[in-house]
């Protein structure tokens, strides 16, 4: 392992090289983890403000300017609360679950490129790493549900597993699209491949699929049947109190924003903005772009009613999964065809290299792919509309029958 930067400084200062390396890596890890953890404190405020506006309220406005310090007050409140562990709970697992839940989200940030020069770890397998780490979150919720020794918690955990395991399939298939276009699983390479054109224009369908399934992965409305208050009281975290509850809470908030960042990286060009490559500005661009999907997610959360578990499952297995598979297949086929025609920029070895091409060169390819996506959508939307009309007609019929029966 090479020794540069901080490690070099420490070594020159007389520290043991091994120790210096260890310390510098440790410091890097701490830095990367700190960013999301600080972000989440402000995210909670933002989310509460937006939710309040949508619901025609003011939201937090007492503590600090615009209620900015409300979250800190809540934090202190949560810390001061009594920390209860149910007598019949599995102590070790019960206490480990909130940690794991937060860690699973924070670990994703290891592969997030903040700026052109700052990334926790530019893994060769970044996209795969994201999928692998996200599965740890499922595990945390299962452990919480089981260790609480509460039937509502257990039911909530069942629902989570059913939901998360199912929605991981369209998520991964949607993730394949940017990976395929960039020809790499590294997050940095994926961003570089979007220097000329954002992938959202080449594969809008994949972007939408990714957004929907990531919304389900976070377990938010309309997929919040995990903690459906009216049926399960609070779902898997029913027994948790104090800061342990707070950690689940924070993990969920952070997960939503993390998904926004991931969508930005995969489909919205990450920190790219024409001509602006300075670290600080790039970082701000990433954050600003991430707010677009984040805001849409909040908007949906606060306006759409909750779905039933069977509806959610049906939507996934009969709609999202086939659509995502077809999407990947058609895209792969089209890219191969376009490559034969010569509309795809290639490097010397003949491999696809979007990173080297500019906006104009990528335009024909983008148009073809965009149109193909629209063409995939047309019959699907038609079919959905027909299904909706039929269902509504059936319900109407049922209602009139009932009315007539009541009239008799």
């Amino acid at each position: 392992m090479d020794c540069t930067g901080l490690c070099e400084v420490l070594t020159q200062g007389g520290t043991d090289p091994g120790l210096a390396q260890f310390l510098s890596i440790l410091l890097g890890v701490l830095l990367v983890v700190t960013v999301p953890l600080i972000t989440v404190i402000f995210l909670i405020w933002i989310e509460r403000k937006i939710a309040a506006r949508i619901q025609d309220r003011l939201g937090p406005n007492r503590v600090g300017p615009f209620g900015l310090l409300q979250t800190f007050a809540d934090l202190i409140k949560l810390l001061a609360k009594e920390d209860i562990t149910p007598a019949s709970a599995d102590r070790l697992l019960y206490n480990a679950a909130p940690l794991l839940s937060l860690a699973a989200v924070a670990l994703i940030w290891a592969v997030v490129p903040y700026t052109p020069y700052h990334v926790g770890a530019d893994l060769d397998i970044g996209a795969l790493y994201f999928v692998a780490v996200a599965s740890l979150g499922t595990l945390a919720i299962m452990i919480a549900g089981w260790a609480s020794n509460n039937k509502y918690a257990l039911l909530g955990a069942f629902r989570v597993v059913a939901l998360l395991v199912s929605y991981e399939i369209p998520l991964v298939f949607a993730l394949l699209v940017p990976v395929m276009l960039a020809g790499s699983m590294s997050m940095v390479d994926i961003i570089h491949a979007q220097s000329g054109m954002w992938f959202i224009f080449m594969a809008p369908l994949a972007g939408v699929l990714f957004f929907i399934s990531s919304q389900a992965e976070t377990g938010r409305a309309p997929f919040d049947l995990i903690e459906a208050e009216s049926e399960l009281v609070a779902g898997f975290n029913i027994e948790y109190s104090g800061m342990k509850f707070g950690m689940f809470f924070a993990a969920e908030f952070l997960h939503v924003f993390t998904n926004g960042v991931l969508i930005t990286i995969l489909f919205l060009g990450g920190w790219y903005f024409p001509g602006w490559q300075m670290p600080l500005i790039a970082f701000m661009w990433l954050g600003l772009k991430a707010f677009i999907p984040y805001f849409i997610s909040l908007w949906i959360r606060n306006t759409v009613p909750r779905l039933r578990i069977d509806q959610v499952m049906k939507f996934n297995w009969f709609f999202l999964v086939p659509l995502s598979i077809v999407n990947v297949l058609i895209l792969a086929f089209l890219v191969m065809v376009l490559k034969e025609i010569g509309w795809v920029p290639v490097d010397e070895t003949g491999a696809m290299a979007l990173a080297q091409a500019g906006f104009i060169e990528l335009l024909p390819m983008t148009i073809v792919l965009f149109i193909s996506n629209v063409l995939i959508c047309v019959p699907i939307v038609n079919r959905l509309r027909r299904m909706g009309v039929e269902q509504r007609a059936a319900r109407e019929q049922l209602r009139t029958q009932r009315a007539m029966a009541a009239g008799d």
Partner: protein
């Protein structure tokens, strides 16, 4: 970088030599799609299409049957007389099993298209396995052979209202047992393969053979010889489960009894063909040089195989004596027959330094497999004809006086029993004669004596079936509800096979005498 394949590159890779297996795989996938779109009143087309698929693969196999060894996919798949011959055995087995299945499924209310697809998938796995020349392909072929079989064993479970019925529970138990023990044995095989890979640095059997020599010659103390030995032993355990050799045979009677009868017929042959093909390839092509004292001893594993063969023969035959259920009896008999084929394997290993004798022994093993296939399929076809819709009717006493009600079935069963015993003019005799003579040539006199003695013992329980059918004439005999046209064809085909292999010997020996593994 990756180049898009053209017809030219495909022929460069020699893909046509794997065509029989690939064709069957394609046919299966095709059938999977067709079956979905077949309307409910046209479902009888599924087995017919399955038969067509098997037939096409059979024809392709005949056209591509070539005695010289050619390899494809980077040496992972080889086609030689061995592959071609065992492909024929697998395809015949699948064909007869499909014939047996059609009416059986209908009358037991388990008629579902997936059945035939799983059966064909299993046959595909067996075909990939017999051509496998690489540890990875052996393993994947074995899994493709086994996993559909686990499901098919439990196929009678779901589709009946009477969920507590004995045969439902038995089928479930059968599938479960087979699955758990099968998964366990696959783990052994994988562990063994991993150790072989660790010792030699390759998974290709020919390269393993080349690497074994230097390892054995290098400094004796901490060379990889032990790794090789443990790897070979673990692989032997894994394959021993599949062929139901004795210390690993526990699953056989229960699984054979509980599985739907056509599946029992299929599994008793196909699983053995696949297992023995892998055993022959792995032990002879890959590890025949694995000797404890380089160049002098015969291969180190052959002593073990001799012992396993002897124990299998003795235990299989003796326990079969006390069975009252015909399916269990045939299960133990199939264990015993695995012992006879293991004799051939041991003979190849023992004669490893004399290629002529070794090849003769390998050919004897192949002929035995073909003879066993025809005979066992026929015997199970008769059992299936007698079996009632609720799974009863498979006791030995149900055969009493069968000659009165169904003389043709009784005659056929008698022929199969004679063949299993090894009476001259039947296939079983040819198989046993070839195996015994190969074993004698290889110098395995004690093992041959055990083989002959146990054959005599086996006569007792096989002949008992014949006695029941022909001499207990006071019983009026089973109505044989399952004897429908396809089952009858299957019985006739098996009879023809038994007689052809038994009488027209040159036909078969011409096919196999090009087999040379060593």
């Amino acid at each position: 970088m990756f180049e898009s394949p053209t017809l030219q590159t495909l022929t460069d890779y020699n893909i046509w030599i794997a065509l029989p297996a690939i064709a069957l795989a394609f046919g299966t996938m095709f059938l999977l799609v067709i079956d979905v779109f077949l309307p409910a009143n046209r479902k009888h087309w599924t087995p017919i299409l399955a038969l067509v698929g098997i037939g096409i693969s059979f024809l392709i196999n005949l056209f591509t049957y070539n005695p010289e060894q050619t390899s494809t996919f980077g040496g992972m798949f080889v086609a030689d007389a061995f592959t071609g011959f065992l492909n024929i055995v697998v395809l015949i087995t699948a064909f007869i099993s499909v014939l047996l299945s059609t009416d059986y499924l209908r009358r037991t209310e388990t008629n579902h298209g997936e059945y035939y697809i799983l059966l064909l998938l299993s046959a595909t796995g067996a075909m990939f396995m017999v051509g496998a020349n690489d540890l990875i392909v052996i393993f994947i072929g074995l899994e493709l052979l086994s996993i559909p079989l686990y499901i098919l064993s439990a196929f009678r479970v779901t589709y009946t209202d009477d969920r507590d019925a004995t045969f439902v529970l038995k089928s479930e138990e059968s599938g479960m047992k087979y699955f758990i023990l099968g998964a366990f044995s696959s783990a052994f095989l994988v562990y063994g393969s991993a150790l072989l890979f660790g010792a030699t640095g390759t998974t290709n059997l020919r390269e393993i053979f080349a690497a074994v020599g230097p390892i054995l010659e290098s400094s004796a103390e901490n060379s990889g010889a032990l790794l090789l030995l443990i790897g070979a032993a673990l692989s032997l355990v894994g394959l021993g489960f599949k062929i139901a050799a004795v210390p690993f045979h526990m699953w056989t009677p229960d699984v054979y009894e509980g599985a739907p009868t056509p599946i029992t017929a299929y599994m008793s042959v196909a699983a053995k063909v696949g297992g023995f093909a892998a055993l022959f390839r792995l032990m002879i092509v890959g590890l025949s040089g694995l000797t404890l004292d380089a160049g002098v001893d015969p291969a180190a594993w052959q002593g073990t195989i001799q012992v396993i063969a002897a124990v299998t023969l003795i235990l299989g035959n003796f326990v079969a004596l006390s069975q009252t259920n015909i399916k269990r009896m045939l299960a133990y008999s199939s264990i015993a027959h695995a012992g006879y084929i293991l004799m051939a394997v041991a003979a190849v290993g023992s004669a490893g330094l004399v290629p002529d004798i070794a090849n003769t022994a390998a050919q004897a093993g192949l002929v035995y497999l073909l003879a066993y296939a025809f005979t066992n399929l026929g015997a199970f076809a008769v059992v299936l004809a007698l079996e009632n819709n609720d799974g009863t009717g498979t006791e030995l006493s149900d055969f009493n006086g069968l000659y009165n009600s169904r003389p043709m079935l009784a005659l056929a069963m008698a022929l199969f029993m004679f063949s299993l015993t090894g009476i001259p003019l039947t296939a079983g005799f040819m198989g046993k004669w070839l195996v015994f003579s190969a074993a004698v040539q290889a110098g395995l006199i004690p093992l041959t004596i055990i083989g002959v003695l146990t054959s005599v013992i086996s006569a007792f329980y096989y002949v008992r079936v014949i006695v029941n059918m022909f001499l207990l004439t006071e019983d009026e005999g089973s109505p044989a509800v399952g004897e429908t046209a396809p089952v009858r064809y299957a019985v006739y085909a098996s009879m023809a096979g038994v007689l052809i292999v038994g009488i027209a010997v040159p036909l078969v020996t011409n096919l196999v005498n090009m087999v040379s593994l060593v």
